[in-house]
């Protein structure tokens, strides 16, 4: 697959004598040496990674790690000192002003930590701003803006000024403004960091829902590892201007590349991070009610070696569990269905239920935990007691 964004050896140096600083950097001088010799600070050092189409890519680092500067290199709000950035096949670093404007108008939009909304314009005018800059006629841009306003849940607020909205609402305007251009790439600079924790979680959820529909390529900056793990398909961790690890949340959690990363990971409460969706077996063997009678169920139990099976309807609606000894009983009685022995009163988890929330399930029962769709009640997967117990107790020692 051709990456959507290819970041190739991006180096960013602040200061006067960048040429010399760059040479020193190539010769392997440390940041401190370069600062002492040339007075230049190295903001980003030789960052390279690819971002795939439709990927939610998070760059995580503490303040001063160079993450925001690196992000700004992607649309050249800051000019990288050396290196290349490719959007599809276009080398962004070599574009002239006109071409760059076109890229910013059509392909790459940005969402800011402090929102960056125009205080003298209404929500509608703010959202339509990008289209206005492109010269789209008023009627057309308002129509498009109205659509994204609805998408981010701001319908009814079109004529308000941003200052009348809460922080979360303002950031929705920021997000809507970025989406109105229908860009391929969305850059989000600590987009939720200025919001209070409850609103932040809510916005994260909504962003993930939106992403499910839109499949944009998102580059998201954060200083919060929990947020990174929650949102990211992959995460790049930065320290002192260097990218020290790129990987999926699970890779970061399980195989931290350096001491620095592991010191971070330690602080993450895995129980609060890891969700049912990542623990579950997504293709569990099930007893299908009405299709599988006692005979069919027993055959499945024999082939899997399990003595408990989840029972579902033909279209996968979760009903409950059946136990080996009771199915045998039913069979001995000569019943044709397993209806009588389905245990329906069982706790279920949703895909985003965290391990922490599933803790009570361990204490209560010896059954596996069924993971169902929150609305349709369809069975999505099954978490064995073993998996749950290991996750809650043994993760640090593994």
């Amino acid at each position: 697959m051709i990456p959507k964004l290819k970041i190739e050896n991006i180096t960013l140096i602040f200061g006067r004598d960048r040429e010399k600083a760059l040479n020193m950097l190539h010769e392997g001088a440390s940041k401190a040496e370069i600062l002492a010799e040339t007075g230049c600070t190295v903001g980003v050092k030789e960052a390279s990674f690819d971002i795939q189409p439709g990927e939610f890519f998070v760059i995580m680092g503490l303040s001063g790690s160079g993450k925001s500067s690196l992000l700004r290199c992607l649309n050249r709000l800051i000019e990288p000192t050396s290196g290349n950035i490719f959007l599809n096949d276009t080398n962004i670093t070599t574009l002239n002003d006109k071409e760059l404007q076109q890229i910013r108008r059509k392909e790459i939009s940005m969402v800011f930590q402090q929102f960056g909304l125009l205080p003298h314009r209404t929500v509608m005018e703010n959202v339509a701003f990008g289209l206005e800059l492109q010269g789209v006629p008023v009627a057309e841009r308002n129509e498009k803006a109205a659509k994204v306003i609805e998408l981010v849940g701001l319908k009814g607020y079109e004529q308000q000024l941003p200052s009348g909205l809460s922080g979360g609402m303002q950031q929705r305007v920021g997000l809507a403004r970025a989406l109105a251009n229908d860009p391929e790439v969305l850059l989000m600079d600590e987009a939720f960091s200025a919001l209070d924790p409850l609103i932040r979680t809510q916005m994260q959820d909504e962003l993930m829902d939106l992403q499910e529909k839109m499949h944009k390529t998102i580059v998201f900056i954060t200083h919060d590892l929990d947020e990174a793990i929650r949102l990211g398909d992959r995460i790049a961790i930065m320290k002192d201007g260097e990218v020290i690890q790129v990987g999926t949340p699970e890779e970061i959690l399980t195989t931290p590349a350096t001491e620095y990363v592991s010191s971070f990971v330690e602080k993450v409460d895995r129980k609060a991070v890891i969700t049912a969706s990542s623990l579950m077996d997504t293709k569990p063997v099930t007893a299908i009610f009405r299709k599988d009678g006692p005979e069919g169920s027993l055959r499945k139990m024999r082939s899997t070696g399990l003595n408990i099976l989840p029972a579902v309807t033909i279209d996968k609606h979760f009903l409950g569990f059946v136990y080996l000894h009771e199915v045998l009983e039913v069979k001995r009685r000569g019943d044709k269905t397993i209806e009588a022995v389905i245990h329906r009163e069982v706790p279920v988890a949703y895909p985003d239920t965290t391990v922490e929330q599933m803790l009570p399930f361990i204490a209560e029962t010896d059954k596996p935990v069924a993971v169902v769709h929150p609305e349709t009640n369809k069975l999505l997967g099954l978490i064995s007691q073993t998996a749950l117990i290991i996750e809650t107790t043994g993760s640090q020692t593994l």
């Binding site: 960056g116 003298h120 701003f129 990008g130």
Partner: protein
């Protein structure tokens, strides 16, 4: 001894000698402008104009400003200084307009270009602090006696706040808003017109207010070179030691100043309210 004065004298003489026709045409244009404004002000009877101004002040700045305009201008008429007041008003309007037309673009330029800002700053200091009388001498040399040198000196004296507050207003536009605007592919003209100027407007309007106020104070001084208007009355009071006349002229100036101030300030306040709500 360093004789800077000599060099400046030579320079001014050289200018008058070589740019005579240029100054002459400028003089005609400015004179025509002042006369036109004065003609417009005189087109309707005094009581209609007072009423119109009072209504305008009331709509913009509230009932107290309206009442003050009505009574204040009535008093001026009663004192018999109506023609001089209109003459002064015409001078102010023309000088302030020209000062703003030159000052605001320079202010924008200085805000967007550090070098220009650095060069402009000492020039503005010079224009603002040099005793106002000093401008009058070269002004007379360039344009002769009358209204035009008065306008010229007033423009120089009244322009700095327009430049400074425009620059300040644009530089105060929050960095994140400017960055966001750029990130959406705005050209620098779009950035200026759609973001920087609207957001800087309250500050720029404060500059407009200051320019008009300073123009008013200078117009009085300009009476020394026969610019006419209320300054002439004040000057008469000084030179002939007529305390009463001097005060009457002074009171008329104060009334005019307060009216202009309230009206121009109201524009800035309205905008400020709109952006902060």
């Amino acid at each position: 001894m360093i004789k800077i004065g000599k060099y400046i004298e030579h320079f001014i003489n050289w200018l008058t000698l070589h740019f005579g026709p240029f100054f002459k045409s400028v003089k005609h244009i400015v004179e025509a402008m002042v006369n036109a404004v004065q003609w417009v002000l005189g087109i309707m009877p005094w009581y209609v104009l007072i009423l119109l101004l009072a209504i305008f002040a009331w709509r913009r700045a509230g009932w107290s400003a309206g009442v003050f305009t009505l009574l204040g201008l009535g008093l001026i008429y009663g004192m018999g200084y109506w023609p001089q007041t209109m003459e002064t008003l015409a001078l102010i309007l023309v000088s302030a307009c020209i000062a703003l037309l030159i000052g605001i673009p320079f202010g924008i330029w200085a805000a967007r270009n550090n070098m220009v800002g650095k060069i402009l700053r000492p020039i503005l200091d010079f224009m603002q602090t040099m005793p106002a009388f000093v401008y009058l001498i070269p002004a007379v040399l360039f344009f002769g006696l009358g209204k035009v040198p008065g306008v010229f000196a007033t423009i120089i004296f009244a322009m700095p706040p327009a430049v400074r507050l425009t620059t300040l207003g644009i530089q105060q536009v929050p960095k994140d808003i400017v960055e966001a605007t750029r990130s959406f592919g705005a050209t620098s003209t779009q950035l200026l017109l759609k973001v920087e100027l609207p957001l800087a407007m309250p500050t720029i309007l404060a500059g407009v207010n200051q320019t008009i106020m300073m123009a008013l104070s200078m117009v009085v001084i300009a009476a020394m070179i026969a610019a006419g208007g209320l300054g002439e009355i004040v000057l008469k009071g000084i030179t002939q030691l007529k305390i009463g006349v001097g005060f009457e002229g002074g009171i008329a100036v104060v009334i005019l100043a307060i009216i202009l101030d309230r009206i121009t300030q109201s524009f800035g306040k309205k905008r400020m309210k709109k952006t902060s709500n």
